[in-house]
Protein backbone atom coordinates (compact mmCIF):
# COMPACT_ATOMS: atom_id res chain seq x y z
CA UNK A 1 0.00 0.00 0.00
CA UNK A 2 1.39 3.40 -0.98
CA UNK A 3 2.41 5.85 1.72
CA UNK A 4 1.58 8.76 -0.57
CA UNK A 5 -0.46 11.46 1.06
CA UNK A 6 -2.65 14.06 -0.53
CA UNK A 7 -0.91 17.43 -0.64
CA UNK A 8 -3.46 19.39 -2.66
CA UNK A 9 -7.13 18.64 -3.05
CA UNK A 10 -9.08 21.17 -5.10
CA UNK A 11 -12.76 20.87 -5.93
CA UNK A 12 -14.76 22.89 -8.45
CA UNK A 13 -12.32 25.78 -8.62
CA UNK A 14 -13.36 28.87 -10.49
CA UNK A 15 -11.62 32.21 -10.65
CA UNK A 16 -13.00 35.29 -12.32
CA UNK A 17 -11.19 38.61 -12.50
CA UNK A 18 -13.23 41.77 -12.70
CA UNK A 19 -11.02 44.61 -13.95
CA UNK A 20 -13.16 47.67 -14.67
CA UNK A 21 -16.43 45.75 -14.23
CA UNK A 22 -15.60 43.36 -17.08
CA UNK A 23 -15.80 39.75 -15.93
CA UNK A 24 -12.94 37.57 -17.15
CA UNK A 25 -13.32 33.94 -16.15
CA UNK A 26 -9.86 32.36 -15.94
CA UNK A 27 -10.54 29.06 -14.17
CA UNK A 28 -13.73 27.10 -14.80
CA UNK A 29 -14.56 24.24 -12.47
CA UNK A 30 -11.15 22.67 -11.90
CA UNK A 31 -10.82 19.68 -9.58
CA UNK A 32 -7.41 18.23 -8.96
CA UNK A 33 -5.46 16.13 -6.46
CA UNK A 34 -1.68 16.28 -6.05
CA UNK A 35 0.03 13.62 -3.93
CA UNK A 36 3.42 13.30 -2.33
CA UNK A 37 5.94 11.22 -4.23
CA UNK A 38 4.99 12.65 -7.61
CA UNK A 39 6.32 15.33 -9.89
CA UNK A 40 3.37 16.79 -11.76
CA UNK A 41 3.63 19.23 -14.63
CA UNK A 42 0.91 21.77 -15.28
CA UNK A 43 1.05 22.61 -18.96
CA UNK A 44 -0.99 24.58 -21.42
CA UNK A 45 -0.87 27.52 -23.81
CA UNK A 46 -0.31 31.10 -22.68
CA UNK A 47 -3.40 32.52 -21.04
CA UNK A 48 -4.84 29.10 -20.29
CA UNK A 49 -4.91 29.78 -16.54
CA UNK A 50 -1.85 27.79 -15.37
CA UNK A 51 -0.33 30.50 -13.22
CA UNK A 52 -3.69 31.56 -11.83
CA UNK A 53 -4.33 27.94 -10.87
CA UNK A 54 -0.94 27.78 -9.13
CA UNK A 55 -1.79 31.00 -7.25
CA UNK A 56 -5.16 29.62 -6.15
CA UNK A 57 -3.73 26.23 -5.17
CA UNK A 58 -1.08 27.89 -3.01
CA UNK A 59 -3.51 30.31 -1.37
CA UNK A 60 -1.96 33.38 -2.99
CA UNK A 61 -5.33 34.07 -4.62
CA UNK A 62 -8.80 33.21 -3.38
CA UNK A 63 -10.98 31.24 -5.76
CA UNK A 64 -14.29 32.81 -6.83
CA UNK A 65 -15.84 29.40 -6.24
CA UNK A 66 -14.68 25.99 -5.06
CA UNK A 67 -12.30 24.95 -2.35
CA UNK A 68 -8.61 24.12 -1.93
CA UNK A 69 -7.08 21.99 0.79
CA UNK A 70 -3.33 22.29 1.16
CA UNK A 71 -1.87 19.50 3.28
CA UNK A 72 -5.30 18.98 4.77
CA UNK A 73 -5.84 22.67 5.61
CA UNK A 74 -8.72 24.45 3.80
CA UNK A 75 -6.43 27.26 2.68
CA UNK A 76 -8.98 28.92 0.40
CA UNK A 77 -11.17 29.68 3.41
CA UNK A 78 -8.40 31.04 5.62
CA UNK A 79 -7.60 34.72 6.10
CA UNK A 80 -4.44 35.89 4.34
CA UNK A 81 -2.26 35.70 7.47
CA UNK A 82 -3.28 32.13 8.24
CA UNK A 83 -2.81 31.10 4.60
CA UNK A 84 0.68 32.64 4.68
CA UNK A 85 1.46 30.56 7.75
CA UNK A 86 0.44 27.36 5.93
CA UNK A 87 2.65 28.29 2.98
CA UNK A 88 5.55 29.07 5.31
CA UNK A 89 5.32 25.63 6.92
CA UNK A 90 4.34 23.43 3.98
CA UNK A 91 5.37 24.99 0.66
CA UNK A 92 8.63 25.80 -1.09
CA UNK A 93 8.49 28.09 -4.13
CA UNK A 94 10.74 28.15 -7.18
CA UNK A 95 10.14 31.19 -9.39
CA UNK A 96 10.90 31.84 -13.03
CA UNK A 97 13.05 34.91 -12.25
CA UNK A 98 14.58 33.35 -9.11
CA UNK A 99 13.35 36.26 -6.94
CA UNK A 100 16.49 36.30 -4.83
CA UNK A 101 17.44 39.26 -2.67
CA UNK A 102 20.26 40.96 -4.59
CA UNK A 103 21.88 42.50 -1.52
CA UNK A 104 22.17 39.19 0.33
CA UNK A 105 24.64 36.37 -0.18
CA UNK A 106 23.43 32.96 -1.35
CA UNK A 107 23.68 31.75 2.24
CA UNK A 108 21.64 34.64 3.63
CA UNK A 109 19.04 34.32 0.86
CA UNK A 110 18.33 30.80 2.07
CA UNK A 111 18.73 31.53 5.78
CA UNK A 112 16.38 34.54 5.63
CA UNK A 113 13.42 32.38 4.69
CA UNK A 114 14.22 29.97 7.51
CA UNK A 115 14.36 32.92 9.89
CA UNK A 116 10.76 33.69 8.87
CA UNK A 117 9.85 30.31 10.32
CA UNK A 118 11.40 31.30 13.60
CA UNK A 119 14.55 29.21 13.17
CA UNK A 120 17.36 30.75 15.26
CA UNK A 121 19.84 32.64 13.09
CA UNK A 122 22.85 30.34 13.62
CA UNK A 123 20.78 27.20 13.11
CA UNK A 124 19.23 28.74 9.98
CA UNK A 125 22.68 29.40 8.55
CA UNK A 126 23.69 25.81 9.27
CA UNK A 127 20.61 24.42 7.50
CA UNK A 128 21.10 26.88 4.63
CA UNK A 129 24.72 25.76 4.22
CA UNK A 130 23.57 22.14 3.98
CA UNK A 131 20.81 23.01 1.50
CA UNK A 132 23.24 24.92 -0.72
CA UNK A 133 25.70 22.02 -0.58
CA UNK A 134 22.89 19.67 -1.69
CA UNK A 135 22.33 21.74 -4.83
CA UNK A 136 26.07 21.89 -5.55
CA UNK A 137 26.74 25.41 -4.32
CA UNK A 138 28.76 24.59 -1.23
CA UNK A 139 31.61 26.71 -2.53
CA UNK A 140 29.47 29.71 -3.42
CA UNK A 141 27.90 30.51 -0.07
CA UNK A 142 29.19 34.07 0.14
CA UNK A 143 28.37 35.04 -3.44
CA UNK A 144 25.56 37.45 -4.13
CA UNK A 145 23.01 36.70 -6.88
CA UNK A 146 24.71 39.21 -9.21
CA UNK A 147 27.91 37.15 -8.99
CA UNK A 148 26.19 33.88 -9.94
CA UNK A 149 25.09 32.47 -13.31
CA UNK A 150 21.39 31.95 -14.09
CA UNK A 151 21.63 28.24 -13.31
CA UNK A 152 23.40 28.92 -10.03
CA UNK A 153 20.78 31.49 -9.06
CA UNK A 154 18.03 28.98 -9.70
CA UNK A 155 19.96 26.47 -7.57
CA UNK A 156 20.00 29.01 -4.76
CA UNK A 157 16.23 29.41 -5.24
CA UNK A 158 15.83 25.64 -5.05
CA UNK A 159 17.97 25.49 -1.91
CA UNK A 160 15.75 28.21 -0.46
CA UNK A 161 12.66 26.18 -1.31
CA UNK A 162 14.14 22.97 0.13
CA UNK A 163 15.68 24.40 3.27
CA UNK A 164 12.39 24.47 5.15
CA UNK A 165 11.72 20.77 4.34
CA UNK A 166 8.44 21.55 2.58
CA UNK A 167 5.81 18.94 1.84
CA UNK A 168 5.15 20.55 -1.51
CA UNK A 169 7.39 22.36 -3.99
CA UNK A 170 5.60 24.69 -6.39
CA UNK A 171 7.48 25.99 -9.40
CA UNK A 172 6.48 28.61 -11.94
CA UNK A 173 8.39 28.12 -15.19
CA UNK A 174 11.61 27.30 -13.31
CA UNK A 175 13.55 26.63 -16.51
CA UNK A 176 12.22 29.46 -18.66
CA UNK A 177 15.20 31.75 -18.03
CA UNK A 178 17.81 29.01 -18.44
CA UNK A 179 19.53 27.36 -21.38
CA UNK A 180 18.44 23.83 -22.28
CA UNK A 181 21.26 21.98 -20.54
CA UNK A 182 21.04 24.02 -17.33
CA UNK A 183 17.25 23.77 -17.38
CA UNK A 184 17.38 19.96 -17.50
CA UNK A 185 19.92 19.92 -14.63
CA UNK A 186 17.64 22.11 -12.57
CA UNK A 187 14.58 19.93 -13.14
CA UNK A 188 16.62 16.82 -12.32
CA UNK A 189 17.60 18.54 -9.09
CA UNK A 190 13.96 19.25 -8.32
CA UNK A 191 13.01 15.69 -9.28
CA UNK A 192 15.59 14.38 -6.80
CA UNK A 193 13.66 16.03 -3.99
CA UNK A 194 10.50 14.05 -4.68
CA UNK A 195 9.93 11.55 -1.92
CA UNK A 196 7.15 9.93 0.06
CA UNK A 197 6.97 13.11 2.10
CA UNK A 198 7.36 15.60 -0.71
CA UNK A 199 5.60 16.28 -4.00
CA UNK A 200 6.25 18.77 -6.79
CA UNK A 201 3.95 20.73 -9.06
CA UNK A 202 5.60 22.72 -11.83
CA UNK A 203 3.98 25.09 -14.27
CA UNK A 204 5.84 24.97 -17.55
CA UNK A 205 5.65 25.50 -21.28
CA UNK A 206 8.68 23.30 -21.83
CA UNK A 207 7.55 19.99 -23.26
CA UNK A 208 11.02 18.49 -22.73
CA UNK A 209 10.36 18.41 -19.01
CA UNK A 210 7.80 15.63 -19.45
CA UNK A 211 10.59 13.06 -19.23
CA UNK A 212 11.06 14.02 -15.59
CA UNK A 213 7.35 14.02 -14.78
CA UNK A 214 5.21 11.32 -13.23
CA UNK A 215 2.11 13.08 -14.41
CA UNK A 216 1.15 15.82 -16.85
CA UNK A 217 -1.94 17.93 -16.38
CA UNK A 218 -2.95 19.94 -19.41
CA UNK A 219 -5.11 22.97 -19.02
CA UNK A 220 -6.76 25.10 -21.66
CA UNK A 221 -9.21 27.96 -21.35
CA UNK A 222 -9.41 27.49 -17.61
CA UNK A 223 -10.31 23.80 -17.74
CA UNK A 224 -8.31 20.59 -17.39
CA UNK A 225 -8.28 18.94 -20.79
CA UNK A 226 -6.09 15.97 -19.87
CA UNK A 227 -4.51 14.52 -16.77
CA UNK A 228 -2.37 11.43 -16.95
CA UNK A 229 0.93 9.65 -16.85
CA UNK A 230 3.69 11.52 -18.60
CA UNK A 231 5.12 10.31 -21.88
CA UNK A 232 8.67 11.50 -22.45
CA UNK A 233 9.04 13.97 -25.25
CA UNK A 234 11.81 13.68 -27.74
CA UNK A 235 14.45 16.40 -28.04
CA UNK A 236 12.69 18.00 -31.00
CA UNK A 237 9.72 18.73 -28.85
CA UNK A 238 7.28 16.13 -30.11
CA UNK A 239 4.99 14.17 -27.83
CA UNK A 240 3.55 15.13 -24.51
CA UNK A 241 1.86 13.71 -21.54
CA UNK A 242 -1.69 12.97 -21.46
Amino acid sequence: MSEKSILIRARGLAKTFRPAAIETPVLRGISIVIRSGELALLMGPSGSGKTTLLCVLSGLLRPSAGEVELCGVPISRLPDCAAAEVRRDKVGFVFQSYNLFPALSALDNVAEVLALKGTPREQARGIATEALARVGLGARLGHRPGELSGGERQRVAIARALAGSPALILGDEPTAALDRHTGMDIVQLIKDQVSERCGVLLVTHDIRLTRFADRVIEIDDGQIVSDGVAVAADETGGGSGG
Binding site: A84, V86, R88, F95
Partner: protein, 204 residues
Protein backbone atom coordinates in the same frame (compact mmCIF):
# COMPACT_ATOMS: atom_id res chain seq x y z
CA UNK B 1 30.78 105.50 23.33
CA UNK B 2 32.02 103.25 20.52
CA UNK B 3 31.11 99.59 20.51
CA UNK B 4 31.90 96.61 18.34
CA UNK B 5 30.71 92.99 18.08
CA UNK B 6 27.03 93.79 18.61
CA UNK B 7 24.46 92.26 16.24
CA UNK B 8 20.69 92.38 16.17
CA UNK B 9 18.18 90.96 13.74
CA UNK B 10 15.99 94.04 14.28
CA UNK B 11 16.72 97.19 12.40
CA UNK B 12 17.67 99.04 15.62
CA UNK B 13 21.11 98.13 16.87
CA UNK B 14 21.91 98.25 20.53
CA UNK B 15 23.43 101.59 21.39
CA UNK B 16 25.34 102.50 24.50
CA UNK B 17 25.18 106.25 24.94
CA UNK B 18 23.64 108.98 27.05
CA UNK B 19 19.85 109.31 27.30
CA UNK B 20 19.85 112.63 25.51
CA UNK B 21 21.99 111.26 22.70
CA UNK B 22 19.83 108.14 22.41
CA UNK B 23 16.63 110.22 22.19
CA UNK B 24 18.21 112.42 19.55
CA UNK B 25 19.52 109.51 17.47
CA UNK B 26 16.26 107.56 17.68
CA UNK B 27 14.13 110.61 17.15
CA UNK B 28 12.19 110.01 20.36
CA UNK B 29 10.59 112.88 22.31
CA UNK B 30 11.41 113.61 25.97
CA UNK B 31 8.01 112.50 27.23
CA UNK B 32 7.95 109.24 25.27
CA UNK B 33 8.38 105.86 26.97
CA UNK B 34 11.75 104.17 26.86
CA UNK B 35 13.45 101.34 28.62
CA UNK B 36 16.53 102.13 30.64
CA UNK B 37 19.12 99.73 31.95
CA UNK B 38 20.15 100.86 35.41
CA UNK B 39 23.54 99.79 36.57
CA UNK B 40 24.13 101.19 40.00
CA UNK B 41 27.59 102.31 40.93
CA UNK B 42 26.66 101.75 44.57
CA UNK B 43 24.67 98.51 44.83
CA UNK B 44 23.53 99.47 48.33
CA UNK B 45 21.19 102.05 46.82
CA UNK B 46 19.24 99.31 44.99
CA UNK B 47 16.38 98.61 47.42
CA UNK B 48 15.76 102.30 48.12
CA UNK B 49 15.77 103.16 44.43
CA UNK B 50 13.49 100.22 43.63
CA UNK B 51 11.05 101.29 46.33
CA UNK B 52 11.01 104.85 44.98
CA UNK B 53 10.49 103.67 41.40
CA UNK B 54 7.63 101.38 42.34
CA UNK B 55 5.81 104.38 43.77
CA UNK B 56 5.95 106.21 40.44
CA UNK B 57 2.76 105.65 38.43
CA UNK B 58 4.44 105.88 35.01
CA UNK B 59 7.50 103.75 35.72
CA UNK B 60 7.68 99.99 35.55
CA UNK B 61 10.60 98.35 37.31
CA UNK B 62 11.77 95.01 35.96
CA UNK B 63 14.59 92.82 37.22
CA UNK B 64 16.81 90.94 34.76
CA UNK B 65 14.80 87.70 34.77
CA UNK B 66 11.44 89.45 34.29
CA UNK B 67 12.89 91.61 31.55
CA UNK B 68 14.23 88.50 29.82
CA UNK B 69 10.84 86.77 29.95
CA UNK B 70 9.06 89.89 28.75
CA UNK B 71 11.43 90.22 25.82
CA UNK B 72 11.08 86.54 24.92
CA UNK B 73 7.29 86.81 25.10
CA UNK B 74 7.38 89.87 22.86
CA UNK B 75 9.52 88.23 20.17
CA UNK B 76 7.85 84.84 20.33
CA UNK B 77 4.20 85.82 20.48
CA UNK B 78 3.88 89.60 20.52
CA UNK B 79 5.63 90.28 17.24
CA UNK B 80 5.42 88.68 13.81
CA UNK B 81 8.90 87.22 14.17
CA UNK B 82 7.77 84.32 16.35
CA UNK B 83 4.88 83.45 14.03
CA UNK B 84 7.21 83.68 11.02
CA UNK B 85 9.69 81.33 12.67
CA UNK B 86 6.93 78.93 13.68
CA UNK B 87 5.52 78.98 10.15
CA UNK B 88 9.00 78.35 8.73
CA UNK B 89 9.47 75.42 11.13
CA UNK B 90 6.08 73.90 10.22
CA UNK B 91 6.78 74.42 6.53
CA UNK B 92 10.17 72.74 7.02
CA UNK B 93 8.50 69.78 8.71
CA UNK B 94 5.95 69.53 5.92
CA UNK B 95 8.52 69.74 3.13
CA UNK B 96 10.78 67.32 5.03
CA UNK B 97 7.83 64.95 5.46
CA UNK B 98 7.08 65.02 1.73
CA UNK B 99 10.73 64.42 0.80
CA UNK B 100 11.15 61.59 3.34
CA UNK B 101 7.81 60.09 2.23
CA UNK B 102 8.84 60.16 -1.44
CA UNK B 103 12.27 58.72 -0.66
CA UNK B 104 10.77 55.93 1.41
CA UNK B 105 8.11 55.17 -1.17
CA UNK B 106 10.62 54.94 -3.99
CA UNK B 107 12.87 52.69 -1.85
CA UNK B 108 9.88 50.49 -1.07
CA UNK B 109 8.77 50.39 -4.70
CA UNK B 110 12.25 49.31 -5.76
CA UNK B 111 11.91 46.29 -3.48
CA UNK B 112 8.29 45.36 -4.13
CA UNK B 113 9.21 42.12 -5.89
CA UNK B 114 11.37 41.04 -2.96
CA UNK B 115 8.65 42.00 -0.50
CA UNK B 116 6.04 40.14 -2.56
CA UNK B 117 8.35 37.11 -2.56
CA UNK B 118 8.63 37.27 1.21
CA UNK B 119 4.85 37.57 1.47
CA UNK B 120 4.41 34.59 -0.86
CA UNK B 121 6.74 32.40 1.18
CA UNK B 122 4.86 33.28 4.34
CA UNK B 123 6.22 36.49 5.88
CA UNK B 124 3.87 38.07 8.41
CA UNK B 125 2.65 41.65 7.85
CA UNK B 126 4.78 43.02 10.69
CA UNK B 127 7.87 41.37 9.21
CA UNK B 128 7.21 43.15 5.92
CA UNK B 129 6.50 46.41 7.77
CA UNK B 130 9.86 45.93 9.46
CA UNK B 131 11.53 46.55 6.09
CA UNK B 132 9.93 50.02 5.89
CA UNK B 133 10.50 50.76 9.56
CA UNK B 134 14.22 50.05 9.26
CA UNK B 135 14.44 52.56 6.42
CA UNK B 136 12.45 55.07 8.51
CA UNK B 137 14.78 54.58 11.46
CA UNK B 138 17.79 55.07 9.20
CA UNK B 139 16.37 58.25 7.64
CA UNK B 140 15.36 59.62 11.05
CA UNK B 141 18.82 58.94 12.49
CA UNK B 142 20.49 60.50 9.43
CA UNK B 143 18.19 63.54 9.71
CA UNK B 144 18.79 64.02 13.43
CA UNK B 145 22.58 63.67 13.15
CA UNK B 146 22.94 65.91 10.09
CA UNK B 147 20.54 68.50 11.54
CA UNK B 148 22.40 68.54 14.83
CA UNK B 149 25.78 68.91 13.14
CA UNK B 150 24.41 71.75 10.97
CA UNK B 151 22.95 73.48 14.04
CA UNK B 152 26.28 73.26 15.86
CA UNK B 153 28.17 74.66 12.87
CA UNK B 154 25.67 77.54 12.56
CA UNK B 155 25.89 78.19 16.28
CA UNK B 156 29.67 78.46 16.04
CA UNK B 157 29.53 80.73 12.97
CA UNK B 158 26.93 83.04 14.53
CA UNK B 159 28.81 83.16 17.82
CA UNK B 160 31.87 84.31 15.92
CA UNK B 161 29.68 87.05 14.45
CA UNK B 162 28.54 88.10 17.93
CA UNK B 163 25.10 86.50 18.08
CA UNK B 164 24.48 83.93 20.77
CA UNK B 165 22.40 80.92 19.71
CA UNK B 166 21.11 78.80 22.53
CA UNK B 167 20.75 75.06 21.72
CA UNK B 168 19.15 73.77 24.88
CA UNK B 169 18.62 70.07 25.65
CA UNK B 170 14.87 70.77 25.42
CA UNK B 171 15.30 72.17 21.90
CA UNK B 172 17.36 69.14 20.87
CA UNK B 173 14.82 66.74 22.40
CA UNK B 174 11.92 68.48 20.72
CA UNK B 175 13.73 68.47 17.35
CA UNK B 176 14.48 64.74 17.66
CA UNK B 177 10.86 63.99 18.52
CA UNK B 178 9.59 66.19 15.68
CA UNK B 179 11.95 64.40 13.23
CA UNK B 180 10.85 60.95 14.39
CA UNK B 181 7.19 61.96 14.21
CA UNK B 182 7.68 63.41 10.74
CA UNK B 183 9.42 60.22 9.52
CA UNK B 184 6.70 58.06 11.07
CA UNK B 185 3.99 60.09 9.32
CA UNK B 186 5.95 59.97 6.06
CA UNK B 187 6.14 56.18 6.23
CA UNK B 188 2.37 55.68 6.17
CA UNK B 189 2.13 55.59 2.36
CA UNK B 190 4.89 53.01 2.14
CA UNK B 191 3.40 50.89 4.91
CA UNK B 192 0.01 50.92 3.15
CA UNK B 193 1.73 49.91 -0.12
CA UNK B 194 3.44 47.00 1.64
CA UNK B 195 0.27 45.97 3.44
CA UNK B 196 -1.76 46.00 0.22
CA UNK B 197 0.93 44.22 -1.79
CA UNK B 198 -0.45 41.16 -3.54
CA UNK B 199 1.80 38.15 -3.07
CA UNK B 200 0.37 36.65 -6.26
CA UNK B 201 2.31 39.23 -8.29
CA UNK B 202 5.41 37.03 -7.90
CA UNK B 203 3.81 34.43 -10.14
CA UNK B 204 2.61 36.79 -12.87
Amino acid sequence: MATHGIRSFTLNPYLFTTTTNARRLLNVGENQAMYYVIDLADKQCGPALAAWMKRQPDIQLLDTATWSKKTQAFWVSGSGAGAALLFTAILGLFVGGVIVGQTLYSMTKEHLLELATLKAVGARPFELAGFVLWQVAFLAAAGVVSGFVLALVLKRVLENAGLTVVVSPETVGLSVMATILMCAMASITSLVAVYKLEAATVLR
